[in-house]
Amino acid sequence: MKTVRLTLWGAVVVASAAFLWLYTSQGSNQRFVSELSQNTDTLRPEFSLTDHQGNAVTEQTYRGKWLLVFFGFTNCPDICPTTLGELAQLMDLLGPDAQKTQPLFISIDPERDRVETMAEYVSAFHPSIVGLTGTETEVTATAKSFKAFFEKLPQETAPDGYTMGHTSAVYLISPEGVFVRTYSYGTSPEKIAADVQQRL
């Protein structure tokens, strides 16, 4: 009987430690991206989402291409369209090298951004941009895997009463699926093009 109780207590300690660890690592979400700069070669983002044409996709779908990944939402009137417009310019600047790259726009607002919404939205920027969305669970898992941050912010005047805060850097992922770097918001398409092209 004593050993059972001891084992149970042991389990309680382990569970509490795990809970604490999870809790604190969630609290530090906001620092995920800056942590990336110290720990880059090990990050291999994984995801299981739906593209804007309704196909189920994973990170394996895009193996062999340099991925440019941007998290955002279609109700975003400033950062997201500006960045997608710049990614569109980037694809044009890359010329024939564009075939070796794939821009992905991942919605962190799956509640509003359904497949049809994503299709209508990304196609307005560039035919090469793929929009990805999923269930709330899938999107959360994806962001975690990229160490990207997002949060729903209640805002009285915003459409539907909320807006989203999110990581606004563009990720570069190698054809092998390994994180390479981020380009912070506002990096010019010319700069990104030069950086990508020297790696091809």
Partner: protein
Amino acid sequence: MSRVLFNTLSSLLFLLFAFPATAESVRGGDLVVEAPWARASIGTSRPSAAYITIRNEGSSADVLTGIETEISSMPEVHEIKTNDNVSTMSPAGPVEIPAKDAVKLAPGGLHIMLIGLQRALVEGERFPMTLIFEKAGRVNVSVPIYSLGASGPEE
């Protein structure tokens, strides 16, 4: 011949003054508002944004207190803040335009959020917008609409 030349020259000069280099520039009191533009929208279900530069040539600060436009049921100045690669957007409140200085509303910083679009913003079209200042009063501008992916007034 010289008379024809003179006439041509004077009409050219007249045109030059009638259409100054900064085509989209409106004066209101000590303020000069210039280079307005807005982002095209897909339909009316999602908000869009407008941008403008406000120069204060006067010797005292002015404050942008409100926006009116028929295109939006609730135009509001918003500010993007980016910390540690995370961007958030919130209402900016009244915007001070310091004396002898300029405030530029541009992507990644301040924008006029066009909430509740009354009609779609179509690239190439224009809409009227009124900026309301504490001192300079109401300043009317005509806002050209650029592409959905535009990032500045030069496009």
